[in-house]
Amino acid sequence: MQTPIRVLVAKPGLDGHDRGAKVIARALRDAGMEVIYTGLRQTPEMIVNAALQEDVQVIGLSILSGAHNAIVPRVLELLREHDMSDVKVILGGIVPDEDAEALKKQGVAAVFQPGASLDAIVQFIRTAVTV
């Protein structure tokens, strides 16, 4: 049997709206992945440390507060500093198109906006990690 894909689902910033993060975490687990959920109010440092310790291939960030432009680039920067650029960062939440494009240019693998299907997210991770 193949080793399951390991995913860290993280809630950075002050936003406590964790409905999406929890639904995604369950869906990924139901799809056979190993999911570690950080809980709320994680700093970029805490998230990257957890990703390092848990040896994950994917970090899923859920941000609904509009703070993504301050938080996500910092996560990417820390991953580079730790030589972990092979870890795929995906972002879900209320992220306007132009911000999504800019964040992808900086290294985010995918941005899932409201209404994205769970299946699309699962498929994306499977493709991104096996390549």
Binding site: L14, G16, K22, P114
Partner: protein, 526 residues
Amino acid sequence: MKTAERQFTTISGVPIEPLYGPEALSGVDLAAPGDFPYTRGIHRDMYRGKLWTMRQFSGFATPEETNRRYHYLLAQGQTGLSVAFDLPTLMGYDADHAMAQGEVGKCGAAISSLEDMEILFRGIPLGDVTVSMTINSPAAVLWAMYLAVAEQQGVDWARLSGTLQNDILKEYIAQKEYIFPPRPSMRLVTDTIEFGAQHVPRFNPISISGYHIREAGSTAVQELAFTLRDGLEYADWAIERGMAIDEFAPRLSFFFNAHSDFFEEIAKYRAARKIWATVMRDRYGAKSERSLKLRFHAQTAGCSLTWQQPYNNVVRTALQAMAAVLGGAQSLHTNSLDEAYALPSEHAVTIALRTQQVLAYESGVTATPDPLGGSYFLEKLTLETEAAANRYIRQIDEMGGMIAAIEAGFPQTEIADASYRYQREVESGERTVVGVNRFQSDDQPIELLQIDEGSARHQEQKLAALRARRDHNRVMKTLDALKRAAEGTENTMPYLVDAVRAYATLGEICDSLRVVFGTYQETTRL
């Protein structure tokens, strides 16, 4: 799909029979509106006497910009104000705190000190307008600032009218904006209830909220049951403090979601009034009619709004608002069409307000109270909703109350299960979301409100100037006095008012309380 195979349920999964007839009315209490148990409404004349308050929840960027929006909304015919605070404020951090980075002014107005509160209400006479404030963990502090502004305006506290959300239990359950552990938080809430009864008698010190529980993915019954059970917890604490039920119960107010399933929502509001009236009378021995009457604010369901085809959201909101009105709401917020993207633009919020005005002045639904009363389906659904909510309430009673249930993760898990079930139904196509999983088409671009980092810099500069200007010794003295009060059993409100008058900042005050009370981290459950 053939009709015979298809399951009809409400959006919360409650089965619906093929037909309802006169037998559905057995056991239904059809007491008139204004009569116990108020299922049909708390007033005999309802909207014939007074329309609901049109109260748009609003706040963004700096207090200066939000103040301009308030003047605009009042000029457009809005009848009350409702303050949205940003996340740093909700979490008790000043705008210049490291944790506030990227968050200042994004989800609401940034308020770090009395100076910001003065700006927020500049030119708005607090004696004449009712103000609701969506603030929870640091509610006592923001209320102290509000009282201090009223004092500066020369308005007697006894004339102030409005609502403090101040419902910390639903934060642990659903929205997760908590600072302190449950018990010290409940003590602060009880302090505000007691202080309000003594000094600010026309102000609702709490708005017991199901809205956020529903937004987190609960069913209608869970929203109702957890909210009412939270209400009982606050009542128990106030009684423990030594207050009589009729001293404070008339000022307990409620806040429910207005979700998409039209009849289920109306049934929920009707069941809410009946359960509350019954429990206040029978469990607490309330005598005052005002203690028995459940008054509520409603907000249409943010979580039902779609990013795809955003103009459809105007229609969703109109239907949800109609359900709230037919359910007898006392005040209402209608969401703007762009809220799946951002805080509302002025254009979008105007349409949302106009939606309420069309309902109020054109639809005719205001002409008679509870016009759907006696409907076979609605009455049956009201009874079923009531019974299902009472089962949850008993279950939580048996667990030892809401704090014990929260510590056991009970409501949190029930909600997460319901939200996952719903998402799976949408995913499989069992539930249709127009424009998302059926009837897709290209989206029309809409103009959005942008909040840049300029707000954060503006707030940081004001704070630096304030810290340099104020009387440092007086700040330290009031904070020390507050800490001593928090360590003891005295009501903290007078100390909070003193501290904000000295221009101690929100962050400094909350840090003082953090030292005494500690902070809360939830056990993460999936």
